[in-house]
Amino acid sequence: MPKLTIDGKEITVPDGTTVLQACEKMGIDVPRYCYHPGLSIAGNCRICMVEIEKAPKPAISCQTTCAEGMVVRTDTEKVKQTRSHVLEFLLVNHPLDCPVCDQAGECYLQDYYMKFGLYDPKFNEDKVKKEKKAEPIGPTIMLDQERCILCSRCVRFTDEITKTHEFGIVNRGDHSEVVVSREFVNPYSGNVADICPVGALTDRDFRFKCRVWYLKSSPSVCGGCARGCNIEVHFNDRRAHKVEEKRVMRFKPRFNEEINKWWLCDGGRYSYKLIDDNRITQVKGADDWASAMRIIASKLKGLTQSSACSLAVLLSPQQSNEELFLAQKLFGQISGRDRFFLVSPTQPGYEDQFLIKADKNPNTTGARAQGFHPTENVIEQLLEEAESGKLKALYIFGQDLSTRFGEDARKLIKRLEFVVFQGSHRNDTAPLCSMVLPSAVHVEAEGTFTNCDGIVQRFIPAFSPLTGAKEGIKILSELGTSLGIKIPAGSPSEIFNEMVRENSAFRGMSYGKLGKIALEKAAVC
């Protein structure tokens, strides 16, 4: 554990820590382009240079290992001059594209120039022209070779992370260019736009959509599959008129050491569109929420009082732990535990050895922890019950049964007396149902998901639900009130605490200290 001094302050670091990492720990801003904590050290940008006592010349801090007694300075005149000149070299052939470049506002060249540059440029020649300017290299990424500063992050990404080797750098000297050896079709392609420090690799989906200084960021969790990668939701609330009233502009990955590190798959990345597209915004089957609650309450009460088995509830692995808990508490009091069925809205899909899971639901494990397991042939069973008259009502939590299960599902719904559809997106099933309740998506709500490895993660709302929609927990709460049933009430945090009290699978957890748990087999009644 070497102890060293940086800018006059002492710090002790674990063996193997680099000077740059030590500076980061101390909150000292060291500029860098080629260094990325998730990739190997390239050491080619040269802008992270610092002065080390007893060394003849400045050294790159990204590759220098901390040693006992080392004395480092990042604030000397020499370091400042070196940074400024390296920046000048990098800008020599860089095109003046800022007004038309998406990277503006989150560009390392701009940021470092303002912080470490501010020199009078001496370059006054024709800049080197490259072959590909504004060239799509695949469905998701745009390449501009002239903006590229040849940091090689993209090359190292496809070599070391996806191991698909699309990117390379050809030629020599200032004619070097980043190229791809084939069309860039890769389930993790979006990450190269994240890691490119400049506007050389940009996201085609985001192209020209919104200037980044109009964006706000809110942390959340991706709901695209059971992996639960951490994300940032970038949304704009100031210029909605410019982007057809859509709020979310993009997802970016958020670092999580245990789950996704710095990466996000394209499926998850581009699932942001689900937040604003194709949403259900109106209650159907009643004039408003209040009357909808009254109708549902009286209908369900009536039916279940004569026969507890007349209602079936289709829980979804898309629902949060809190919502599942509440639903269980609510419907469990008017119906039996055996009347709950866990139905996934989708078939399992593509899976790989990296982040993507076949299970395209964020909370299957959470549902299992509460004793709900996916069962085979649910629709056949329910159809049989419906045809025999046993089943009279169905509460659907967002699954598009018609598309997933076909004619049997449509027959089932037709056969029933009362079907409630609580969901967020328009689909072929909702119009067939007696009542449709628009619910919020998880980005608009608060709660927890349990990922495929049993890690329970919190998500908070980035903004309020789309006008007309309501958080799932709120809907169930109001339904409980209408039914006259006592169910856990209060904030998602309080509901979670209640769940923790009742379920050993979540032992020891609270919103304050969420972490990984080893799931115990939850008892199913």
Partner: protein, 160 residues
């Protein structure tokens, strides 16, 4: 495009080359030389053939081909002349003699003469400054050059 297999006539030599190194990638430069010797330049598709043979990603072969100047990407003349243009050769008139050669044969650097015999380029130091100004004609060094020596070189049937 169907996967092209490694040409059988080059296999014995290629396999011998592979044995010289503990890792297959090290055979890349020598094997590319094999193809250049056979065809006079690196033909389209050779990069994929060699990548497959050595189990390398295609991009690694493409990078190497673009980095090193001796691998010709276009066909060259049967006799390819490389005129040195670095310090000693240049101050002794080497670049002007290269232009003279080009004018005599009727081609610009990078072009091949109509009869397919000649092509030329100006290159950096060839390590023969004692015979400056000089030229690498095929596999032979020739210098010190003057216009009449260049005339003679052009007339020669082939490189010594």
């Amino acid at each position: 495009m169907a996967k092209m297999s490694f040409p059988s006539e080059l296999l014995p030599v290629a396999e011998k080359i592979l044995k010289n190194y503990p890792e297959a990638q090290a055979a890349l430069l020598p094997i590319l030389h094999l193809f250049q010797n056979r065809d006079g330049y690196i033909k389209e598709g050779v990069d994929q053939i060699v990548a497959d043979y050595l189990s390398l990603p295609l991009i690694k072969v493409q990078e190497v081909l673009s980095f090193y100047t001796l691998y010709a990407k276009q066909p060259q003349g049967k006799r390819h002349f490389q005129f040195c243009r670095t310090l000693t050769c240049s101050i002794l008139g080497g670049e002007l003699l290269a232009d003279y050669f080009g004018k005599k044969v009727g081609i610009k650097p990078g072009e091949v003469s109509k009869d397919g015999q000649f092509s030329y380029e100006k290159v950096e130091c060839l390590g023969a400054c004692e015979i400056a100004p000089m030229v690498r004609a095929g596999k032979c060094y020739a210098g010190p050059l003057n216009e009449s020596k260049i005339d003679k070189l052009i007339q020669e049937k082939s490189h010594v």
